[in-house]
Amino acid sequence: MADKQFVADSPALLDIYKRAALLKANDERARKVILSGQVAMAYYSYRGQEIIPSVMGNVLRDDDTICTIYRGIHDMLGKGFPLKELWAELAGRSTGSCKGKGGPMHLTYPPKGIMVTTGIVGSSAPIANGLAWAAQLDKSDRVSVCTFGDGASNIGAVHEAMNLASVWKLPTIFVCQNNLFAEHTKFEKMTGGQNIANRADGYGMPGVRVDGNDPEAMYSAFAEAVARARAGEGPTLLECMTFRFFGHNFGDDDSYIPPEQKAAAMEADPVPRFRARLIADRIASEDELAAFESDVEGQISEALEFALSSPWPTADELRFDVFEKEIAA
C-alpha cells in the first residue's frame, strides 16, 4: 500500500461532513429529549467524536460490518442505521430495530452491517474477527471493523483479538477512539506505554495514531487500513485521537475533567471547524449546508414522532427470541 495515496476528494469531504452534521444533530437532540423526559435511557454522548465514524461511513460499504459499543450511536449512524428504527429502539418501542429488547446499548441493524453493539468493554474485538473470518471464507473483500475506547485497550479480549487477527491475517480493522478518558479515569493513569497504536508492533501489524478530529488525516489512515484489509494484507490498529464533550454518560458529574482541557476541546469542536473549512474552500456553500442541516433536523423530528407514537412491546415478548423456537422452560 506504501506507494498509494489515500486522499479524500471534495465529494468525499462533503459526504463526511454531512454524516458528521447528522451525528451532531442527533446527539444534541438526544440530550434534549432525555432532559425533557420524553425518553428515559442510559445515554453515552459521543459529541466531539463525530469525525471518526463519519469517515468510516464514507469509506465503508454496506456489506462491510461493524461491531461497536455502548458509545456507538455515532458509529451506527455513520454506517447508515435508519433514524426511525433507531429512535424507536431508544424509546423501547416494538417498532425499534430490536423490538425494544436491546435498547441503546445493544442496537443492531444487519442490513447496514451493524452486527453487534456490546456493553462489555473490549468485547467488540473478538467478535469482529469472526465476521472477518467469514469474509475470508466467502472469498469476499469486505472488511470487519470494531470500535472500542482507550480504556478498553487494556482488557484481555482486545489483546487476544489483535493477536489472532494478525496470525490469521484477518481483514479486521481495530478502531480505538481515544477520547482520553475511560469513565472517570484519565488515559495516562491506566495505560502502560505512551499510546495504544504502539502496541500493534508487538502483534506484527501496522499501528497508526491519527488525529481523529481531522477529516483528512482520518480519511487517509482509515482508507489505507481498509485497502490493506481488502487486499488480504491483514489487520490494522488505528488509534484515533479525539475527546468527548459531555462526560461518560448523560447526567455524569464531569468534574474529573480538567476545565481547561474541556474548554479547549470544545473550542476546537471538529464539526463547525470542518464546516467552516468546506465553505472557505468552496466545497460547499453556506446555503447548501444550512439546507442539509435543516433537513436533518426534520428527519430526526420525524423519527422521534414515529418512535413516540409506536406501541410498547407486550410482556409475552419475554418468551420470544430466546431461541429461534419458543421452548417451554
Binding site: K99, G100, K101, G102, G119, I120, G156, E183, S255
Partner: protein
C-alpha cells in the same frame, strides 16, 4: 426506636451503610485495602460514589483505581490476600464478573483447598446489579446461583442498611472469599434511622426473620426481600400471616431457620430476581422437600426472573422479575 422516630422518616440508605462499613474497616485494620475501576477520588470516588473520600483518607496505595481489566483486578486482590492483606475488589457490575470468572472460580475459590490449607484468599468481591434503569441484558444479570454452586466462596446479598453494614464488615473479616452483591435500586431508599455502630456485625450464614408469621414462609434476599416485606404487609391486611425470611447469605444458606419456619407453616414461597430455572430457589426447594417430605401442606412455590436476558424496554423490564404484587398473588394462592 423512640416514639419520635416512629413518626419520623428514615434517612439512612444501604449506600451510606456500605460507605461507612468501608471507611470503618479501612480505619480499623491497615491490612484492609481496596481496588476497582474509578474508585479513587481523582476518579470521582466510584460510579455511585460509595468509595468517595476513601483514597483521600487512606491513600492511593490502599484505595486504588485500576485500568479496565477485571482479571487483573481479581488477580491483584488474590495475590495481595496471599500475602496477608484483606482486599476488597470492586467489580462494577455483576455481568462483568464473567470476564474474571477464572480468577474467581478456579483461583479464589479453590486455592485454599488445592494447597491443602497452606494458603487462603480472604478477599471480598463487591459487585452490583439491579433492575429498573433500562440497563439491558449486559448491565443487569443475576449470577448468584453460579457462585453458590462453587465450593469455596461465600455469597451475600443484603436488603437493609444494618445488614449491609454488618455483612460487609463480617465478609471483610472472613478468612475466605466472599462475593458481596449489592442491588442498585435498593441503594438510595432511606430505610433506617441511624447508621450502624462500628461494632455491628451480621454473621455470615445466618438468615433474618424479618417478620414472624404462621401461614406462609416467604424466603427471599436482596431487592426481592424488600418486595417480600411489602407483600407480607399486604397479605396481613387480608388476614394471611406471612413469615418473611431474608437469607442475607445465599451460600452457605441458613437451613435451620428456613426449615424451622417451613415446618411451622407447611407452605413455602421462594422469590428471587434471578432466572427461576436452576436459580437458588431450586436448591432451597429441593432441600425443603427432602427434609420435610410429607409435612408440607402445599408444594413449595418458586418465583423468579423470566427465562430470557434482562430486556431494555420498560414494560418488558417490569415484567421480567417478581414484584410485591406477584408475590402477594402467590401468597394468596398458597394460603388458599
Amino acid at each position: 426506636m423512640s416514639a419520635a422516630q416512629k413518626v419520623a422518616k428514615p434517612t439512612v440508605t444501604i449506600l451510606a451503610a456500605i460507605s461507612k462499613a468501608y471507611r470503618d474497616a479501612l480505619a480499623e485494620d491497615s491490612k484492609v485495602i481496596t481496588l476497582g475501576e474509578d474508585i479513587g477520588d481523582a476518579e470521582g470516588g466510584g460510579i455511585v460514589k460509595i468509595t468517595k473520600g476513601l483514597s483521600a483518607s487512606f491513600g492511593e496505595e490502599r484505595v486504588r483505581s485500576t485500568p479496565i481489566a477485571e482479571q487483573a483486578i481479581m488477580g491483584a486482590a488474590i495475590g495481595a490476600s496471599l500475602a496477608g492483606y484483606k482486599p476488597i475488589a470492586e467489580i462494577m457490575l455483576m455481568n462483568f464478573t464473567t470476564v474474571a470468572m477464572d480468577m474467581i472460580v478456579n483461583h479464589a475459590a479453590k486455592l485454599r483447598f488445592m494447597s491443602g490449607g497452606q494458603t487462603s484468599v480472604p478477599i471480598v468481591i463487591r459487585t452490583m446489579t439491579g433492575l429498573g434503569f433500562g440497563s439491558g441484558g449486559q448491565h443487569c444479570d443475576y449470577l448468584e446461583a453460579w457462585f453458590a454452586h462453587t465450593a469455596g466462596i461465600k455469597v451475600c446479598a443484603p436488603s437493609t442498611p444494618e445488614d449491609a453494614y454488618g455483612l460487609l464488615r463480617a465478609a471483610i473479616e472472613d478468612p475466605d472469599p466472599v462475593i458481596f452483591i449489592e442491588n442498585l435500586p435498593t441503594y438510595f431508599t432511606p430505610m433506617s434511622f441511624e447508621l450502624p455502630d462500628n461494632s455491628h456485625r451480621v454473621p455470615l450464614g445466618k438468615a433474618a426473620v424479618q417478620r414472624e408469621g404462621s401461614d406462609v414462609t416467604l424466603v427471599s434476599y436482596a431487592r426481592m426481600a424488600v418486595e417480600a416485606r411489602m407483600a407480607a404487609a399486604k397479605a396481613a391486611e387480608q388476614g394471611i400471616s406471612v413469615e418473611v425470611i431474608d437469607l442475607r447469605t445465599i451460600a452457605p444458606w441458613d437451613r435451620e431457620t428456613v426449615l424451622a419456619s417451613a415446618q411451622k407453616t407447611g407452605r413455602v414461597l421462594i422469590a428471587h430476581e434471578a432466572v427461576k430455572q436452576h436459580g437458588v430457589g431450586a436448591e432451597i426447594a429441593a432441600v425443603i422437600n427432602e427434609e420435610l417430605f410429607g409435612q408440607l401442606k402445599k408444594p413449595v412455590k418458586r418465583l423468579g426472573g423470566a427465562f430470557c436476558a434482562v430486556p431494555y424496554s420498560k414494560p418488558l423490564e417490569s415484567a421480567f422479575a417478581p414484584d410485591a404484587a406477584s408475590i402477594l398473588a402467590a401468597i394468596v394462592q398458597l394460603a388458599s
